[in-house]
């Protein structure tokens, strides 16, 4: 009986801690977003964060998309050939890339790159008193550090996913035509005929949500880091892990919203 009570107490503490963290993050997000509609605005900082996310993440997202498209074509061909359904390869590639793999893999790549960078930068500012310095310089740290990054994350990710969609499909086309024996025109026609606007739109909405999430978790963990270099390291890890898990969980929720019947 005692063991059961101890277990239940530990479980209760964990659940309460989770609820508290979720509430704190939600309040942090609301405050960050509220600063986007209240002056002063910092277009220069939004632009800088946008370039950091969209432009400097382009190589890693592009490579991920191309190789994912290539692998997808190979795997689906080898699987579908058992049922004589090889012609569906182009359809599967474009659907998988636009609906799921484009936004999810781009989100995970950006979580590793940008989530970590935001957490490390803001965390270092926290432990070196730079955030306190902002306050003494009549500048709200949430408005200056967090709000521009949240907006840039939500705006930049869809652009990255458009590129990832195109390159992922191209990767599939490359393997389909060079290795699997598809005619280039028929592969492209199959791709264009099969894809629906909602396939792309749902992927872009997911991208915007994931971009916001990655920026939010990076900023949140960095903003609340403490304890010097070790604390900044822990904040960076927490930012990447939490945003990755949230991307995968929210991907399911958004897919349910868009496609469940």
């Amino acid at each position: 009986m005692q063991h059961l009570l101890t277990f239940l107490a530990a479980l209760g503490r964990a659940v309460l801690g989770l609820c508290r963290d979720a509430g704190t993050i939600a309040l942090f997000a609301i405050e960050g977003v509220s600063h986007l509609v209240r002056p002063p605005f910092y277009p220069r900082l939004i632009g800088r964060a946008f370039v950091e996310i969209a432009y400097f993440s382009l190589p890693v997202v592009s490579l991920t998309a191309v190789f994912t498209g290539m692998v997808l074509a190979l795997q689906s061909y080898s699987g579908f050939s058992r049922f004589g359904a090889e012609s569906a390869v182009a359809n599967v590639v474009v659907l998988s890339i636009t609906r799921e793999l484009g936004p999810v893999l781009a989100g995970l790549m950006v979580a590793g790159r940008i989530g970590a960078a935001f957490a490390a930068e803001i965390g270092t500012m926290r432990v070196t008193d730079q955030i306190d310095a902002l306050t003494t310089l009549s500048t709200n740290p949430m408005k200056y550090l967090v709000a521009p990054r949240l907006l840039a994350g939500a705006l930049a990710m869809p652009l990255l996913v458009v590129v990832a969609d195109i390159l992922g499909v191209m990767g599939g086309w490359l393997i389909g035509t060079a290795k699997l024996g598809f005619a280039s025109a028929s592969y492209i026609n199959a791709t264009i005929d099969f894809i629906q606007p909602m396939d792309v739109i749902s992927g872009l909405v997911k991208a915007a949500v994931f971009g916001f999430l990655v920026a939010l978790m990076g900023c949140y963990h960095g903003y609340h880091s403490k304890g010097g270099a070790q604390g900044v390291g822990a904040a960076t890890t927490a930012a990447v892990v939490s945003s990755s898990i949230l991307i995968l969980a929210l991907d399911y929720v958004l897919t349910e919203m868009f496609f469940s019947r």
Binding site: M125, Q130, D132, A133, T136, T139
Partner: protein
């Protein structure tokens, strides 16, 4: 009334972190135009006192008045307006790594749109000259500066908006004695030029005598002595004199051994 109202008045200020009491009823008056130095050992509550005045840490109880106005009762807008009149030099300067020196120096002026970016470079050079730095330093990033230069840039940033209250958090820590004296000299010059009220925290006795008109000793979260900074080391207060002389034996050491 205004002649007798202190610029800064703290009454019964208390703050605990968890179960640890850091401020245990701090009472302090800082007269307008004076330079007050707060002395005390590590963990005695010096930094928490300053951060409470600046609004960075909310105290548990007590009052903080600036120019007779209760700071803790102010709304966000009023508090931000008050911060416009305050400058702060942090212990490690806390310069923004992502910005060049000139943007650091003119940060508050740019944030409040009191100056254009085109004009800010010239203004930064002007303020940097006041702390003995060449205008060309403005284009460097903080990471390229030595510790002493960072402190000077931090001082330039603190005075750029011409505040009437300036806080200095251990301004000479980590500097060699000569550079420490240089920084102290700059602080005295800047405070006099601006006619500002200054509050510094330090445990560097030489620095305290150079920059302070008055001094206060904080111990275990309470102000235990206030008097002229020039008398430090010979105040007649055993605790202050032990601290000022750096002696092992005395009331502070005895309490530590309990």
């Amino acid at each position: 009334m205004s002649g007798t109202t202190p610029k800064i008045r703290l009454r019964d200020l208390k703050k605990s972190f968890g179960g640890k009491v850091v401020l245990n009823g701090v009472d302090l008056d800082v007269a307008a135009g004076h330079s007050m130095v707060i002395l005390g050992g590590s963990g005695s509550g010096k930094s928490v006192t300053i951060k409470s005045i600046l609004g960075l840490i909310p105290p548990d109880s007590g009052t903080i008045e600036i120019d007779g106005r209760d700071v803790l009762a102010m709304g966000r807008q009023e508090r931000e307006e008050l911060n416009d009149r305050i400058g702060m030099l942090f212990q490690n300067a806390a310069l923004f790594d992502s910005l060049p020196v000139w943007e650091n120096v003119c940060f508050k002026l740019l944030a409040q749109k009191r100056i254009t970016r085109a004009r800010a470079r010239d203004k930064a050079a002007e303020v940097l000259a006041q702390v003995g730095l060449d205008g060309s330093v403005g284009d460097l990033s903080p990471g390229e500066l030595s510790g002493g230069m960072q402190k000077r840039v931090g001082l330039a940033r603190a005075i750029a908006a011409q505040p009437d209250i300036i806080f200095f958090d251990e301004p000479t820590t980590g500097l060699d004695p000569i550079m420490g004296a240089v920084i102290d000299g700059l602080i005295v010059d800047c405070v006099k030029r601006l006619g500002a009220t200054a509050v510094s925290i330090t445990h560097d006795m030489a620095s305290a005598r150079r920059i302070g008109d008055t001094a206060a000793m904080i111990h275990k979260g309470r102000i235990v002595w206030t008097g002229p900074a020039a008398t430090l080391g010979d105040t007649g207060n055993a605790m202050v004199d032990q601290f000022a002389r750096g002696e092992r034996e005395g009331p502070i050491g005895m309490e530590l051994r309990k």
